[in-house]
């Protein structure tokens, strides 16, 4: 998927006045946010589990080379194959190659963010295969030809009416000509249409929530069961995963599962948690004959050694975006790439490039809610601040803002001058504000005054008042 993150401001402005999007985003608060709060309140050990989970991830990252190799060995011992890819291009070539060798036509897919990173659907289509998304949300946006707007609820920006129209338009060719307007009927129609695809697929591609070094297993967590039909019915199962998904043991996964489902959907346990370990065994009656894992780096090994290291603890639960006032207001598409919300504002610059990520690091009020709800305690606001600093250092910010910052820093380092100028400015503004005490228009503050008045300062500056209160003159 090509990044349009540099268009952030423009896209955000459009999103803010899109009535359908605003209606759909309203469901997030009552859904994810409330449910998470309730389920976390019910588990007294939640914070302690969060600490343990964080420790597991840190330990793994500190020894990532060891665990990657141990994992690879176990997969091979189970009869599976591990393919390494530095870049999305390499990963795409590997997957297309496997599909070609399998003589595949139809490829079913479980939801995978790494798959989005690779833009695998486009690559499969170009190579003549028919990729079919099977997670209901992913299926909806595949029909709409849109990217996901949330990492666990990809169609969260769509209203029921929009889905009705989409299905009506695309399902007629399967004989479903009636317009379905209720949720049960919509879900059922998708079930029928996709059932046929599941049964006729040659290759199934899933993501992985975890890769287990102890056993060489890949783990997926779903509620619909689509991931399981995807990894059980076709002849070939391909798992796509980022390097950071490695976890040492099944016991460690058990701990992570407890914080993942709660943080993501507010469930104690997702409906289906599945450990896949290699291809079908000799006497098995079902299951794939081939099992492949494509391990993607795509900038992750770089992050391991720098100040964005913590980001590799991320287990992709989506809590940060659910609780972000910016995300809640504009939805995911404005972020312009695969990952959205606070975690996206950090990952997109690191994976796609800071120079093409526009204002993402600034799409944040630094209120800190994301870090507070993050099950892995990732310091997202700090990292966004770090990226802002890099933008400044790399001269990626506008000339006006650089000039303003330079002027401010000149003053801030000269306290006496700062006091004089600020004192004079405050007095002037207070005088200009007059009896109304606010401004309708203000030079250099058009962004502010276009939607609200700017209050005028009341009386003297803080420093002046402070000095007066302490009763001493200039030091």
């Amino acid at each position: 998927m090509k990044s349009t993150a540099s268009e952030f401001k423009k896209s955000a402005r459009v999103a803010l006045v899109d009535p359908d999007l605003q209606r759909a985003m309203g469901f997030i608060r009552g859904g994810f946010v409330e449910k998470r709060r309730a389920v976390v309140d019910r588990l007294p050990e939640f914070d302690a589990l969060r600490q343990v989970a964080r420790g597991i991830k840190e330990h793994t990252l500190q020894n990532l080379d060891f665990y990657l190799e141990a994992y690879e060995k176990r997969v091979q011992a189970n009869g599976g194959h591990v393919h390494w890819a530095s870049t999305p291009e390499e990963a795409r070539d590997i997957i297309v190659g496997i599909c070609k060798r399998a003589g595949a036509k139809r490829v079913t897919k479980g939801k995978s963010m790494v798959g989005e990173e690779m833009a695998i659907n486009e690559a499969l289509e170009n190579a003549g295969f028919e990729p079919v998304e099977t997670d209901l949300g992913e299926y909806i946006i595949q029909l709409a030809e849109e990217p996901p707007s949330h990492i666990i609820a990809p169609a969260v920006h769509k209203t029921k009416d929009q889905i009705t129209e989409l299905f009506h338009e695309h399902h007629a060719r399967y004989g479903y000509t009636e317009r379905q307007t209720e949720v049960p009927a919509l879900v059922d129609e998708a079930r029928q249409v996709l059932r046929e695809k599941f049964l006729s697929a040659d290759v199934g591609i899933t993501g992985a929530n975890f890769l287990v070094a102890e056993t060489g297993s890949s783990v997926i967590v779903t509620n619909e069961g689509n991931g399981d039909l995807t990894n059980t019915l076709p002849r070939v199962h391909i798992v796509t995963a980022g390097l950071e998904k490695i976890v040492p043991t099944r016991d460690d996964v058990s701990t992570l599962l407890r914080v993942l489902a709660r943080s993501a959907t507010g469930q104690e346990m997702s409906v289906y948690t599945t450990f896949s370990t290699g291809p079908r065994r000799t006497d098995d009656l079902d299951g794939p004959f081939e099992y492949h894992v494509v391990l993607l780096d795509n900038g992750r090994s770089q992050m391991l050694g720098n100040e964005f290291h913590e980001m590799l603890r991320c287990i992709r639960c989506g809590a940060c975006m659910n609780h972000c006032p910016v995300y809640q207001s504009i939805g995911g598409h404005a972020y312009g790439w695969v990952y959205v919300g606070p975690m996206g504002s950090v990952l997109t610059p690191l994976m796609v490039g800071l120079d093409s990520s526009g204002d993402l690091p600034n799409a944040c009020t630094l209120n800190g809610r994301c870090q507070e709800v993050c099950p892995m305690g990732i310091g997202l606001p700090g990292m966004l601040r770090q990226l802002r600093r890099r933008q400044y250092q790399d001269r990626l910010t506008s000339r006006t803002s650089r000039a303003a910052l330079a002027a401010w820093s000149f003053l801030a380092r000269r306290p006496r001058l700062y006091r004089r100028i600020m004192g004079a400015a405050v007095a002037t503004l207070a005088w200009l504000g007059g009896r109304r005490g606010r401004f309708r228009h203000m030079l250099l503050a058009g962004g502010w005054t276009s939607v609200r008045d700017l209050p005028a300062p009341q009386g003297a500056s803080f420093q002046n008042q402070w000095r007066r209160r302490r009763g001493n003159s200039e030091p």
Partner: protein, 218 residues
């Protein structure tokens, strides 16, 4: 793509400030963590795992029927078929633990993997997890995975003695049973559901619409 493998591992080692592979002493410690895994913190669940299991399973729309003997399983399944108008065919797992159920001769009971047309399957389970109300199914010739996902309704027969308290206890039991990981381990916690349309929860997305657990007293 062995070039990519070496490149990725070299990058990882460079990021971790390592000149080469880890020293043997460290590797041994890490290896030990893999071969002798230890459970981490387990949340408290009270002192009645059976009641806890039932309560958790019911809270996620799982149905629980308790029976005294395996002979009753046939009746419970027949009632289920009738109640939801699912016809008279049963796809039964070829699991020896399910041998000897006195099926009514009005039912067509076939022991096999599932097909796309199956309305109802009956399987056993390796364990139940009280903490979450989950059923644990291990794939094998006796327990084909398709039975857990393709049919409209899934009936699972579970002995009460198979209920463990926490997820970790499933692994502990597998280790003490000397079981290697089968192709698939399924933790199933309620019927299939989705909330992808306006966050409205709808059951029966792609997997079974109903999950019915027959708890067998030991």
């Amino acid at each position: 793509m062995s070039g990519a493998r070496e490149r990725v591992l070299a990058n990882v080692r460079a990021a971790l400030n390592r000149a080469g592979p880890l020293p043997d002493s460290v590797t041994r410690t890490l290896q030990g963590r893999l071969t002798r895994p230890r459970a981490n913190l387990k949340p408290a669940i009270g002192d009645d795992p059976l009641a806890y299991f039932i309560q958790k399973l019911e809270s996620v729309s799982g149905k629980v029927t308790r029976v005294e003997s395996i002979d009753r399983v046939a009746d419970v399944v027949a009632e289920h078929l009738e109640r939801y108008a699912l016809g008279d065919r049963v796809a039964l797992a070829p699991d020896p633990a399910l041998d000897g159920i006195p099926w009514s001769n009005r039912l067509m009971v076939e022991r096999r993997a599932a097909t796309g047309d199956d309305r109802l399957s009956v399987t056993g389970a390796y364990a139940g997890v009280a903490e979450t109300g989950s059923l644990v199914l291990l794939s094998s010739p006796e327990s084909p995975t398709t039975l857990n996902f393709l049919p409209d309704d899934h009936v699972i027969v579970l002995r009460e003695s198979r209920i463990v308290t926490h997820i970790e206890d499933v692994w502990a039991r597998m280790r003490s049973d000397k079981m290697v990981m089968p192709r698939t381990v399924n933790f199933i916690t309620g019927p299939s559901k989705t909330a992808d349309v306006e966050q409205t929860i709808q059951e029966g997305a792609h997997g079974p619409r109903r999950l019915h657990v027959i708890l067998l007293a030991d």
